[in-house]
Subunit: 248 residues, 8 copies
Amino acid sequence: MSGEQLRKLLEQVRAGGVSIDAAVERMRHMPFEDLGFAKVDHHRALRHGMPEVIFAQGKTPEQVVAIAGRLLKSAKNILITRVEERTAALVKRKIRKAEYFPLSRAIRVWQDRTIRGKGKIAVVCAGTSDIPVAEEAQVTAEVMGNDVIAIHDIGVAGIHRLMSNRERLTEAKVVIVAAGMEGALPSVVGGLVSCPVIAVPTSIGYGASFNGLAALLAMLNSCASNVTVVNIDNGFGAGYVASLINRV
Amino acid sequence: MSGEQLRKLLEQVRAGGVSIDAAVERMRHMPFEDLGFAKVDHHRALRHGMPEVIFAQGKTPEQVVAIAGRLLKSAKNILITRVEERTAALVKRKIRKAEYFPLSRAIRVWQDRTIRGKGKIAVVCAGTSDIPVAEEAQVTAEVMGNDVIAIHDIGVAGIHRLMSNRERLTEAKVVIVAAGMEGALPSVVGGLVSCPVIAVPTSIGYGASFNGLAALLAMLNSCASNVTVVNIDNGFGAGYVASLINRV
Amino acid sequence: MSGEQLRKLLEQVRAGGVSIDAAVERMRHMPFEDLGFAKVDHHRALRHGMPEVIFAQGKTPEQVVAIAGRLLKSAKNILITRVEERTAALVKRKIRKAEYFPLSRAIRVWQDRTIRGKGKIAVVCAGTSDIPVAEEAQVTAEVMGNDVIAIHDIGVAGIHRLMSNRERLTEAKVVIVAAGMEGALPSVVGGLVSCPVIAVPTSIGYGASFNGLAALLAMLNSCASNVTVVNIDNGFGAGYVASLINRV
Amino acid sequence: MSGEQLRKLLEQVRAGGVSIDAAVERMRHMPFEDLGFAKVDHHRALRHGMPEVIFAQGKTPEQVVAIAGRLLKSAKNILITRVEERTAALVKRKIRKAEYFPLSRAIRVWQDRTIRGKGKIAVVCAGTSDIPVAEEAQVTAEVMGNDVIAIHDIGVAGIHRLMSNRERLTEAKVVIVAAGMEGALPSVVGGLVSCPVIAVPTSIGYGASFNGLAALLAMLNSCASNVTVVNIDNGFGAGYVASLINRV
Amino acid sequence: MSGEQLRKLLEQVRAGGVSIDAAVERMRHMPFEDLGFAKVDHHRALRHGMPEVIFAQGKTPEQVVAIAGRLLKSAKNILITRVEERTAALVKRKIRKAEYFPLSRAIRVWQDRTIRGKGKIAVVCAGTSDIPVAEEAQVTAEVMGNDVIAIHDIGVAGIHRLMSNRERLTEAKVVIVAAGMEGALPSVVGGLVSCPVIAVPTSIGYGASFNGLAALLAMLNSCASNVTVVNIDNGFGAGYVASLINRV
Amino acid sequence: MSGEQLRKLLEQVRAGGVSIDAAVERMRHMPFEDLGFAKVDHHRALRHGMPEVIFAQGKTPEQVVAIAGRLLKSAKNILITRVEERTAALVKRKIRKAEYFPLSRAIRVWQDRTIRGKGKIAVVCAGTSDIPVAEEAQVTAEVMGNDVIAIHDIGVAGIHRLMSNRERLTEAKVVIVAAGMEGALPSVVGGLVSCPVIAVPTSIGYGASFNGLAALLAMLNSCASNVTVVNIDNGFGAGYVASLINRV
Amino acid sequence: MSGEQLRKLLEQVRAGGVSIDAAVERMRHMPFEDLGFAKVDHHRALRHGMPEVIFAQGKTPEQVVAIAGRLLKSAKNILITRVEERTAALVKRKIRKAEYFPLSRAIRVWQDRTIRGKGKIAVVCAGTSDIPVAEEAQVTAEVMGNDVIAIHDIGVAGIHRLMSNRERLTEAKVVIVAAGMEGALPSVVGGLVSCPVIAVPTSIGYGASFNGLAALLAMLNSCASNVTVVNIDNGFGAGYVASLINRV
Amino acid sequence: MSGEQLRKLLEQVRAGGVSIDAAVERMRHMPFEDLGFAKVDHHRALRHGMPEVIFAQGKTPEQVVAIAGRLLKSAKNILITRVEERTAALVKRKIRKAEYFPLSRAIRVWQDRTIRGKGKIAVVCAGTSDIPVAEEAQVTAEVMGNDVIAIHDIGVAGIHRLMSNRERLTEAKVVIVAAGMEGALPSVVGGLVSCPVIAVPTSIGYGASFNGLAALLAMLNSCASNVTVVNIDNGFGAGYVASLINRV
């Protein structure tokens, strides 16, 4: 339908029924959509292999199921984030292929498993409490067609564990680092690898961590030049950007 | 020199002069450097085409000139950031090939101009006051071997100017967006392109901008999933990461 | 009753029982109310068509019903904001004409539907999560006698949807924009229209949104000159001021 | 010039040299500007009587004079804000009709003095230290074609002075209130008038005023429903929005 | 018992059994208490008519009852603050004379009702939501022997209600003002009276009130010189200090 | 002059030329001032012995001298606060009786030295760096007619010095305590005395003192119930309120 | 197992099967662990008498029991912190020797009670509400082999109670001070003793304590030079560092 | 002189001229100092080898010289911190033995060079910009009688440099770590050593470092249990506490 109105106008121009001046004037007031810049079309070409994403927070279980059902008609892969347990139960009952990840509260339908990323994405986290955020990043990166290396619990106070994983880290084309508390891990990892590092502050911490603010500020101030930062607990965003980088 | 001590120890092992148990014990207490993990070596292979970087802030003009002179013995390209005018004058007098960028207060020696990036990097800024930060990003990206598309002064309150540059933006493999005040531009650009967007909050603003805090928070909360963030006014960091992404 | 004491004094002056000096002195010490500056009177003339408003937060269901009942004796239109579900149920049982809006938790009695505003008020929101705040603004503006154009879910990361609604936006005499996360929408809308824009930051967001602080700061720093700001989640305030502007 | 390319394409369509499909395709990739949505045109109709505005901060005296000179070829009224003394001196030497307001550091060229506002705008400030911000608002509102009532130094701790000006306040169609320190004045004024109140927090204060943050927060939390807020010290923004409201 | 050890030492000095040098030395190492500076004694003289105070927060119902019982053996008046409902029920069952104030969650045993204050204390609050804090102040001031004038719901946006109570305010020797939201009331009251004003910010407010921070900052920045401030929601502290002032 | 218009109206009422209804109506619209509530009159009675106060900050030396000269025609005592050195020099040249206090940057004309306070006011400070603020409080309290006991440099880390001054502290009817850094002194003093304590946080400190914020928060959270707080560095405010308390 | 691979390589070197160059190269790429820097070994020697520590927060009761059981095979002493009641019940049922401390929510298995500290550690707290944090510090210090002096409820507003404990304080080699509200106690204690003081801010307080921020800032700004600070409510950390100091 | 009055009283008691009751009473009201608790005496015994310390900030050059001169009559070692250049020049002219450290702006008179610490103190810093703070710590620790190991410029992004210094770090009995930006170094060092680590955040950083706040928060949230924190840039405090620990 999009572009239909424009097409009609051009036909009238060709037929001489509308002057060029009048056509320009009418195009100026046409609804934007009708000029053919429809978002969906424009972006589709760029999005081969991208999953459809649903943020479940603030939606009822029924709404989530309905949206997922509709999307599955055209999409092979779906990612649902921030899913409450009650919603997860309903989705799994209604959609057979759905996997639920209780730690990260993500749901994934992963039918097209083509690898599209050029290299591997490493997903690293500092402590076991940061695993939910790291897992959200991993689930996202996988469903977007990437090989993921997951390395958990290599906090900076035990630098030996980190050093033991050095070789695996240098294999990656992009590294995601999730850390709470003092948020120091991205700086150390950033110094060990030469690729881009995406830092995800987590809200893990006590007292003066202020729900992840301490880690966020630390990461923004990283002395390693290859570090960029996403929002607190935003594992999805980190996985998403890492996937884009891995396809550049 | 690095590794020399280790080599000697191994020769003694081979000659039988040192038992294996004793060798293991001594290696355990050897200075780390001597085991051959020297930083410089390890990283060199990964750093083809990387410029040497000097942060001039807090250094005297003489110190900056001395460091630059030393580095130029082995490096073709040098980038010096946060250069005071007095330092810039001295550097330019001593180092002929040095270009000085007064807006961004950067100095560049750019002898090896090989393009190493796979695509173009777009450097976008919201207002004319953000140009210094954008320029630092551009100077960095160029000296690291990238083609840069610079687009200035396309703030969100004049969305038409941004829309007019849409096609140029979609040409890029990575987009850097510098913006102060409300920091909204990365979100809008992020929605127009499919590649990674690196957002740089600038300290430009009045009153409740709190020296870039408002823009920083806005960017961290971007509703566009392809946005990551670096520190306030950190044009260098944005240019550096964009260059890494462009080579992945 | 108000003014009674003053009237008595004036009669004594006329009758000669009180000298002018004594009258001036006594008036100086009379309770303010009695001099006739009673708030209710003074303001009534200016308030034709204004609904009575009740903030339900912190009041029991019974208190809300009682106040509403009392006000309905003289007022045709009533607005009750921040209503808990239990209160809503009781109000609807007791007051037949009451409509309840569960998203925005507002109740409205809307008997006098005269249009008093000169033009239309557009109420725009960035994401579906911002709808409750937008709805509070809409319900307020309508009960105050305005035609409202509601446009939902036109966030800045999908600028095409916003552009498609450009014409509808320019029809309005005032625009209310509710947005959470990075709070960028008011700046973009402010650049598209020439009328006043009232920005309402919402508490929607994660991590570093700090319950709406990020959006609030962004809006205060808007580069569009026609933007003013109300408190976080204050849909009522935005609807109220927009109504005043639409009658100026 | 804008639209030229579109016009040519339409002629080719009419002449049959380009098929409709091809035309739609080419329009899809045409630079946005050429489709005739040029910002300048679109907005001009809405901007009768608007002055051209220059933010002088961060510009050299010569740049400011050059921009002002260029604008004066088509505009009758010009407003320059945040002008340093040295810039002011140069502007006044080069542009005869320029008035300089040293308190608010504004310059105004005011040749077309047509009154376009429907009513009066009151500009109120709490203390003498707030006058610079109030003056910026007044200078802005006047050059945009409004009658301004200026009322200074009626802080809330001397409520009698405020009460004495009650009648003058109720004459206005919009009230701008500038206040620093505890920022209480907008709430009190908001309760006395029935029209919209635009609150401008000023950076005046000591210690825990934190450069206007205390006043800003107070105004955002005003218990008067007719109050909206602009950025700290943003007298221009307040004057601008008030002028828009006064023309609605 | 306190002082006993000192007394013994002095007797030995008098008897010649301990030299003066040795006595000085031993006194230097004696437990402080034994020198007679016992807190309880020292302060008792100054505390005629002061109630005993129990902060119930974090104590079990049984603990509160036990402490109250013990204190009632020597004290006539008791004040218990921040009492949970379950605790209140137990206290009332066990201690007959206890009054419970559910709004302010205070309990009072008030047997000695002698008026000790020289004048009246006015307790004023801005909105009905501030009444719990105001009530805590009032209950405290009364049990400490003061006549209290309570004036509720005279917020600054309805300045007429405040002006109507002007005469009653000027009767007081000290005024306590509780206000949330923009916290403006203490400044206005401070300008109307000549006595000390104690401002209590309350945590009442929405969004950018940040649980009373906005009101707290406003009050600290009051332009009225006779205002001092206590902690957020600290009605007890305000009532306590007002009582001290009223006895000076 | 004030009241003139009211008087005329009353005469017309007495003469029968204006009906009572008409008089009430006209009074309702009379400028407030004319009703005789002129601020100056109303307050004068309450202000015996109060000095006139000038805040010099932001005023030129000439303005300060002019205002001081005018006030000295009716007032015996004047206090000028926040005086720059250049202003101080001019004031002293023009006004012979002016004393200048360079530490606190206050100027005082103190001709009427009647003691009006009932007891003594103690002004205590924690470190020598806090003396300027303490001195401002002392100068204020003295010129308002109080006997002041000044005790400097008794910080909490040397509790013995504080204990040595215990007796002098208990002599006072009000205690002012100025402290920067951790702001602990008011709590300790508050526990030693039974009278009201006014705490003044000073901006003295390093790093995480955040210009007095640390001390301010500490004082607001004092565990001593007799402590109230004024703004950072507000020695004048503390001296002013202490004087009011000392006269209650 | 650790070091095994290295040992084999050395044997091959000795046997001549691997050249020295090749050996150096292979060592460069060996997993770090295999070079013998295994964390566990390296640290064991330094950790005689250290308990194993489990942070229970975020772990299920079953996980805690499982980890504790495993550790008890090699360790005599175990400390479990931040234990929920349900977890505590299970641990006590499964592990007989476990003591549970409900205030501090710590569990301790304390079989090896050798005193390893050189002197005593004093654990002091300001109010009864700070006891849970103090207890966590005490339980930690004891299980690490220290004699602990516990002194509770000696807040600064009752300085006499503190002075009475002066002698006991000076007995200690390290002092831990836990305090909420204004956090003043460490400064006072720091002035009384000559040993290191570890300050623990607690989250106890109201309003502007901001969950311990006020106390934290106060302690960081302590005017006593012997004070260092740990995170809010971090009793464990304080006990841990104090134990290290006591063994230096 | 101190204690004189007490001694006289005891003599009167012995002589029978004063009864024991009267003596107790008089002692109760004696100035504290006279009871012999004079701070100087009490502490002297504990302070062998401690230097006298002068904070020069806010003092004139003449004042600093005068204080230093007076102290040198009894003390061998003096430390002066935060010395302006002009002050340094004067001190060096007047006091021959004074060394000036321009980076840390410290002055030291170091005549008694006895080593009193039991082990070595390591002073580590992350970047060259942190050296001034590290130097202040070193100068302090040395003048207090400690052997210091200084290790500069071992930031976490170049972990190899840190690992190369591992052995030197483990030699120390206490480690001081100064770091700005993300403040990550103390956590990494804390994991490598078993002794106490004192973390000093520095104000070095850009943008969102907020003058050291980012580093401060990171350090307070360190995942290494042996880390405690002092104020931003407080090198003196770190050196002081480290010296105390090294003598425990």
